[in-house]
C-alpha cells in the first residue's frame, strides 16, 4: 500500500535529518533514490533546484514532490505529515520541560552558552548564503551583478528598518529589472 510506504520512508527522513538545510540531502537521496527508486538521480537534482526557487525546507519540498508523483495530493499530505511528525513529537515533549514555570538550572546553564553559539551558527549560514547568491565563482572571483545590486539596495533599506517581507519582494523586483537589463544588453 503506497500511502504506508510513503509514510514510513518520510518518517525516516524526518527522524534522521539533523542539521537542517542541505545536510538532509544525502539522507533523502539514500531513501528516495537508492532504496525505493521513486526518483531518478536526475529528478532528484530537479527537486533540489526547484527547492531553491520555492519556499520551504528541502525535506518538505521533496516529500511533496514524491508524494504527488506516487499518490497525488493525498500522497503529498501523507509524506509531508510523516516528515514533520518526529520533530513535532520530540519538541512537544522537550517543550513541556522547557516551558514549565520553574526552569531547571541545567537548562539555564546550557542556554547561557547556546545563545552565543547559535548566533555564530546563524552567522555562518548568513555568510554561506551571501557567497552562494552574490558570487558566481570564487576562483577566479566573478560576481553576479544582479544579486549584488539587490544586496546593496536591500542592505541600505534594511538599515532603515523597512519591513523584511517588502524587502524580499523588492529584491525580486530588482532581480527582474536586472534580468531585463541583461536581455536588452544582449547578454
Amino acid at each position: 500500500m503506497i500511502f504506508l510506504r510513503l509514510f514510513i520512508a518520510f518518517l525516516e527522513v524526518g527522524a534522521f535529518a539533523f542539521g537542517g538545510g542541505y545536510a538532509a540531502l544525502p539522507l533523502i537521496e539514500r531513501v528516495i533514490v537508492d532504496r525505493y527508486g521513486w526518483l531518478t538521480l536526475k529528478e532528484m537534482t530537479d527537486v533540489v533546484s526547484i527547492s531553491q526557487i520555492t519556499p520551504g525546507p528541502i525535506a518538505l519540498n521533496a516529500a511533496t514532490f514524491v508524494g504527488t508523483r506516487m499518490a497525488g495530493i493525498p500522497g503529498a499530505v501523507v509524506a509531508s505529515a510523516a516528515t514533520v511528525l518526529p520533530q513535532t513529537v520530540l519538541l512537544l515533549i522537550l517543550g513541556y520541560f522547557f516551558f514549565r514555570g520553574k526552569r531547571s538550572s541545567v537548562i539555564e546553564r546550557a542556554c547561557g552558552s547556546l545563545r552565543p553559539g547559535v548566533t555564530g551558527l546563524i552567522g555562518a549560514a548568513a555568510i554561506s548564503i551571501f557567497f552562494s547568491s552574490v558570487f558566481v565563482s570564487t576562483a577566479p572571483i566573478a560576481l553576479d551583478p544582479v544579486a549584488l545590486a539587490a544586496f546593496a539596495v536591500i542592505f541600505l533599506l534594511r538599515l532603515k528598518r523597512i519591513n523584511i517581507i517588502s524587502l524580499v519582494m523588492l529584491g525580486a523586483g530588482v532581480g527582474l529589472l536586472g534580468g531585463l537589463a541583461e536581455q536588452l544588453a544582449g547578454l
Binding site: S51, V84, S113, A126, G175
Partner: protein
C-alpha cells in the same frame, strides 16, 4: 495574539523562507521580537538552540517552539501546520510544470535578486543578534560565538553535534564559574 493570527503570520513567513534553514530567523525576529515584543532576543535564541536538538527542518521546529511559547501546545501544533503548508501547496501546484519553472529566465532573475536581498537581511540580523548575545559574559560568549561560526563555516561538522557540544560546555562552565563571575 490569537491562534488564527499566529497561523497567518507563520504561513506568511514560511511562504517567504526560500532555501529553508536559518532564513526564517530574521522574519521571526521581526514579527515577534521587534514588532509585537512578545519575545526577547535571548528567548528567541534559546528557542532556536532547542530546535537544533531534534531532527527535521529548522523552520518547522522554530515555528513549533515559538507557537508553544506564545500559545501553549495548541500554538505548537498550529505552528507546525502553518510552516509545512506553504511548501506543500507550492510544490503540488508547480508539480506539473516544474521543469519549465525551474529553467525560466525571469523566475531565475527574480531569484537572483531575492538571494541578494535575503543575504542582506540575514547579515543585519546576525549583527543585531551578536550584539544581544554579547551583553552578558562578553569574553566567554565571544569565544563560543567565534568558535561555532568558524567550525560551522570551515569544517563539515554536523550542526546537531556542534549544538550538543555547546550545551555541554555551558553546563560544565557555569557549574564551576558562577553566573555573576563569568567573564
Amino acid at each position: 495574539m490569537s491562534l488564527w493570527k499566529y497561523f497567518i503570520k507563520i504561513f506568511k513567513i514560511s511562504m517567504l523562507t526560500f532555501g529553508g534553514g536559518y532564513t526564517i530567523v530574521p522574519l521571526i525576529r521581526e514579527e515577534f521580537v521587534r514588532r509585537e515584543s512578545l519575545l526577547s532576543d535571548d528567548e528567541m535564541l534559546s528557542l532556536i538552540a532547542l530546535s537544533q536538538t531534534v531532527p527535521g527542518p529548522i523552520a518547522v521546529s522554530t515555528a513549533l517552539l515559538t507557537g508553544y511559547r506564545l500559545k501553549g501546545r495548541p500554538g505548537a501544533v498550529v505552528g507546525v501546520a502553518a510552516a509545512a503548508l506553504p511548501p506543500l501547496i507550492t510544490i503540488s501546484v508547480l508539480y506539473t510544470f516544474y521543469a519549465w519553472f525551474a529553467e525560466n529566465f525571469w523566475v531565475r532573475a527574480a531569484l537572483r535578486g531575492m538571494g541578494g536581498a535575503v543575504s542582506a537581511v540575514m547579515l543585519i540580523a546576525v549583527y543585531d543578534l551578536a550584539k544581544a548575545s554579547l551583553k552578558k559574559h562578553r569574553i566567554f560568549s565571544a569565544v563560543l560565538m567565534v568558535s561555532a561560526f568558524l567550525t560551522s563555516l570551515l569544517a563539515s561538522v554536523n550542526t546537531g553535534l556542534i549544538v550538543l557540544i555547546l550545551g555541554l560546555l555551558g553546563i560544565i562552565a557555569f557549574k564551576f564559574v558562577p553566573e555573576d563571575r563569568m567573564p
